[in-house]
Symmetry: C2
Subunit: 279 residues, 2 copies
């Protein structure tokens, strides 16, 4: 008997999860979306077993994954909860966890619906189910956030089944960590583009862009709407991360006229080297 | 009759230039280096026609390219100049131009040796003639800096012959531009690595590194010795670039709690898109 999983929002992440879960042979995937054509496409691409336009059909599943952008998660959860049976477990795939965990706790305070937060650290600058890839999570990390007495195992098992390494941590620890490892880099990339875009001589400067600028701004090609939501939702932690980054920029600048600059750069060079297999 | 070009320092840039010049059929390349084995390797790889350990052999050429790291250029030029015939044209490949142009003007004040600064915006995180590639400059930009009455054409012709687009500008304009387009990105990458490296929980954080962090720190894998030289040599312009970048970081941070964040990110997203053919 396959475990029924409902995925609300079958885009890049939801669609990749659906494809990967179906391939395990252990899950049956109900895709819920707002457009019939997208659900048909998701089915054609092997991301779902059945599609539905009705949120109420999530009640067919024991596990419900909200595969929506950060700002849509809580509004969706609010409409979803009245349909679910007690004991249902809801998770999400949002890149920020504290506001979602807090919001869900308020919404579900009087129900027997359980919530476990998820953040699969996998993705692409591409969007939509057409970019879905059943191997998207293979070898990636997925953070799972325990909320109250919710059974983490069912959700951890879901992500392990699709090849992710699962790490459990608190929402606060998660948000502080990704502020440094992901949200700060995105903020830096956009600020760097604005430095060039805001200059009168930008047309000369753009002829002199080197590979370093290309690499350092690549993540500015991510969807600006989704990233505005993420950065705003994690504003407190990102503000702290920005303060740390400014201190490091100041430290580097202070060494620009010092012979210590070389060892300072060598330290970061050496720290980074083992972190990534390829460049 | 082929034009003789001496390349002093046959590494990645000098070696690639040698290979590309030789392929045009119009240049004869004399490689000058400090290690017999490296010169043999350069010859085997088609980067030079003949090798020499003696700086004096640069006098066989009309055009002399100093293919050395930034800090070595002026010391090499000082030893080189007494050997050269009047009318010889010297160029370099350094990533910073004002200190080199000024230094050369002092060194050559009483001679009839001409100097034209070059900065080919091409490279790789790899080093050494073994990584040389005759197509390295094809489609890239090379900045050429006019100094006094030196004949820019001979040097511009050299770079055009190997497929580069040549832009002529002043040393000051060059240094201000690359401070923004290249040196600032390198400084940012190192500062970002230091943010993570300096934290007690770095071992947890490194398990949560996303593709954005990988991309945003890639240039920290460049040679730290060479980059310390470049950043120090261009410290005044880099300091101004850092100030601009801080203003943009502040502007972004000020919008973290504002609905304007989305359009701010969309602006940088849209500005970047046409700059690079691929991501």
């Amino acid at each position: 008997m396959k475990i029924p999983v409902a995925i609300i929002g079958v885009g890049l992440i939801g669609g990749s999860l659906g494809q990967a879960l179906r391939r395990t042979g252990k899950y049956r995937v109900i895709g819920i979306g707002r457009q019939r054509s997208k659900l048909r496409q998701a089915r054609r691409l092997g991301a779902i077993d059945e599609g539905s336009l009705r949120l109420a059909d999530a009640a067919k599943a024991k596990i419900i994954v909200i595969g929506a952008p950060v700002d849509d998660i809580l509004p969706l959860a609010r409409r979803l909860l009245p349909h679910l049976r007690p004991g249902s477990i809801v998770t999400d795939v949002g890149s920020v966890k504290q506001p979602i965990v807090d919001g869900f706790a308020r919404l579900a305070a009087k129900s027997k619906i359980l919530f476990v937060g998820s953040h699969p650290l996998a993705g692409s600058h591409k969007t939509g189910v057409k970019a879905a890839n059943p191997n998207l999570f293979r070898g990636s990390t997925c953070v799972v956030v325990r909320v109250g007495k919710a059974p983490v195992n069912a959700i951890a098992g879901l992500w392990k089944a699709v090849g992710a390494r699962v790490r459990t941590m608190s929402a606060a620890d998660h948000d502080a960590a990704v502020a440094l490892t992901s949200h700060l880099p995105h903020a830096m990339a956009h600020a760097l583009v604005h430095v060039i875009a805001g200059r009168r001589d930008r047309n000369v400067l753009t002829t002199l862009l080197a590979g370093s600028f290309r690499d350092m701004t690549r993540v500015a090609s991510s969807d600006p709407e989704q990233w505005a939501q993420i950065l705003r939702a994690n504003a407190p932690a990102l503000t702290r991360a920005l303060a740390q980054f400014r201190r490091e920029l100041n430290r580097l600048e202070a060494q620009l006229r010092s012979p210590r600059l070389r060892s300072h750069l060598r330290h970061s060079h050496n720290f980074r080297r083992p972190l990534f297999n390829a460049l």
